[in-house]
Assembly symmetry: C2
Homo-oligomer: 411 residues x 2
């Protein structure tokens, strides 16, 4: 018999009927003899409703009081889920973050978990009860209510699993696992049986938003086996594990093709080829709290360079204004922005031990006549910036080239 921590998101508990369906699922696991701790989100829409009330009262709501307010969302869910479990004859007890207690720092609205007291939960599990914990929330050393920020319920689930040394942390969501790429782009995208934490981080930060990055980092750090499953359908989902758990035989070269449509390219042309220029430019952008992703510098001539980088599309105008202001002082020729770009990445721990991934990627794109505008690489991923009109073509071609397509007959 195992100890599972199960996390159910807002959509999974969005109505009384869905809460009853979750209760049936949980009671089923309990009936098999497993110990179950459940972490839940607020019912879908509830957090936004509460934020809406706050904004009617204070345009920039006080962070401490915001946490008092929005933490009620999960508190409603834990009570309703326990009622549903009890009505099925399954004994259960609810805990707010403060009741557990989940100790965090005092950074309201994005607190970090410091410690979890497992005593009360252990006693309940020993007494045969299902434990239901409010996700997303905790309490600081002074007893103030804190929240972990959006998506923090995943982090709660993983942290509970780590503290309780659970056999698995199961994240129930509205997709049935992690896919080789977005099935809306590639019909033959496959659900992955396994993926490593590192690959998952690259996939998540590149736009495959199945899990919160912080939760995956946390799971990796504490080596908590993490499984993503559907709250609505049966199935094994995708297991997210440490690298070592792959055997060489099954390790794929590339695990998935990720993409991100949210970036824009900013270029500053004809800047003097002297030390410190790039640093001045990038510091000015950083000072404006604009995050930079890919950076490439080309030598344009003997005496001047072109610097190109990508930022979130929402920040492109702001970045251009900053560079336009710097232009005369730098002696630069021109500032350009281009929002019609997309980033496509191949991700896989297999790259570490296999050469040739980059050339295969570039060949594939060349065959399709797709021009590569920028390239950036890490140990387990290669990303290219291309014209956004080629997004679907590029992702499909790479998916096929790296043998990720679902074979006919597979489901």
């Amino acid at each position: 018999m195992s100890l599972f921590v199960q996390k159910y998101g807002g959509t999974s508990v969005g109505t009384p009927e869905r809460i009853q369906a979750v209760a049936e699922k949980v009671a089923g696991f309990r009936a098999q003899g497993h110990d179950i701790v459940v972490a839940v989100s607020a019912m879908s829409g509830e957090t936004n409703r509460l934020i809406g009330l706050a904004k009617q009262i204070q345009s920039d709501p006080d962070a401490r009081e915001m946490d008092v307010l929005v933490s009620t969302g999960e508190q409603v869910t834990i009570a309703l889920l326990c009622m549903a479990l009890k009505s099925l004859g399954c004994d259960a007890r609810s805990y707010t973050g403060g009741q557990v207690k989940i100790l965090t720092d005092s950074t309201h609205m994005k607190a970090r978990i410091q410690d979890i007291n497992v005593d009360a939960m252990r006693a309940d599990l020993d007494a045969g009860r299902v434990v239901v914990v409010a996700g997303f929330q905790g309490v600081d050393e002074h007893g103030n209510i804190t929240t972990l920020g959006r998506g923090g319920s995943d982090t709660t689930g993983v942290a509970l699993a780590a503290a309780l040394k659970a056999d698995e942390c199961q994240i129930y969501t509205d997709v049935d696992g992690v896919y080789t790429t977005d099935p809306r782009v590639v019909e033959r995208a496959k659900r992955l049986e396994k993926i490593t934490f590192e690959e998952m981080l690259e996939m998540a930060s590149l736009g495959s938003k199945v899990l919160q990055i912080r939760a995956v980092e946390f799971a990796g750090k504490y080596n908590v086996p993490l499984r993503v499953l559907s709250a609505f359908e049966e199935g094994p989902g995708t297991l997210i594990t440490l690298d070592e758990e792959y055997t060489d035989m099954e390790q794929p070269l590339v695990s998935g093709i990720a993409f991100n449509r949210d970036e824009a390219k900013v270029s500053i042309l004809g800047i003097p080829d002297t030390p410190g220029v790039a640093s001045r430019i990038l510091s000015a952008i950083g000072d404006a709290n604009i995050e930079i992703d890919v950076i490439v510098q080309n030598i344009a001539s003997n005496t001047s360079n072109d610097l190109t980088f990508t930022v979130h599309r929402n920040d492109a105008g702001k970045a251009k204004a900053i560079l336009d202001a710097l232009k005369p002082d730098l002696g630069a020729r021109e500032v350009l922005t281009d929002s019609k770009i997309t980033k496509v990445s191949v991700v896989g721990v297999g790259m570490r031990s296999h050469a040739g991934v980059a050339s295969k990627m570039f060949d594939t794109l060349a065959t399709e006549n797709i021009n590569i505008q920028m390239i950036t690489t890490s140990e387990i991923k290669i990303s290219v910036i291309i014209d956004e009109k080629y997004l679907e073509l590029a992702v499909r071609a790479l998916h096929t080239a790296f043998d990720l397509d679902l074979a006919s007959g597979e489901i």
Copy 2:
């Protein structure tokens, strides 16, 4: 400068706009230099919404989880009110019942307050902050969330005032004070400047539902001056005080005329005149958790009696069924019920020192040809049961007879 505990009910905080209006009121008192602790209810409708969710899931919701659920209602209000105060530049801090902490027993859904820790609130007041406390809720010795039952926010206000030794506990509501009788029945009903705790208890339990009985009892026990005021209009409201604070001169004979339309009369006729019969009948009713109010026994003949009592109208059918079942065994002749009755009471501490209230009451009713079916008295009230069709006539006649009518020109 004074320390006031102010309680605002659900209607007063029913919308973001109303919460802002309450904040302006509170900030105004604070600007005058007073220390203010505010206890608030859930926004009107919210508690019923939450109960509705629970009932969709469990027909008889688990009491512990019900408290976890409904306590979120006040938690939302404290956060929003603090935001509103801060947006007015008035520093404030919110506390849930558990955060204060308001220690209660473990009787979920109708817990009783055992102790209140005032340290954190004192520190906030000393730092110039308004303290905003969630009404209606507390926490037991094991850290479980408890609630005080419907209307418990009044009790929270009074308990906070007692613990903090506040100068006054001000209950803001949607009426501007306690009236000599219901102004919907008697147009010339007057707002009372003062009323004693005991009178208020008699008025409240008789149907003038301005304040929760428990809150009044609590205020009387700890001698907390209690004032009922309107949240929407300016005015002094009604002060509820100890008897001693009246001088003889201003002490009225009768303070008010209360009535209750919710009772029904149950009679069992022709029961044998032997010891223990009344006890058997009333025990059977009590065992069914039916509360009995007025009881009268008449001698019908040399050998048999009639016993008549009143219960809540909702319980009349159940009471009759119980007596019908007992009838053969008792040798009783007949069981009758009558729901077309009403109870009318004159209330006043002045009765203690003045004779003649009862005869004046009965004379007044006789003059109007109103037949008295039952009579019951206490030290400070006389109640009669009459046909409900005479309710308005009786209340108006008594209101005039005891000099309670608003003089022309008064407002």
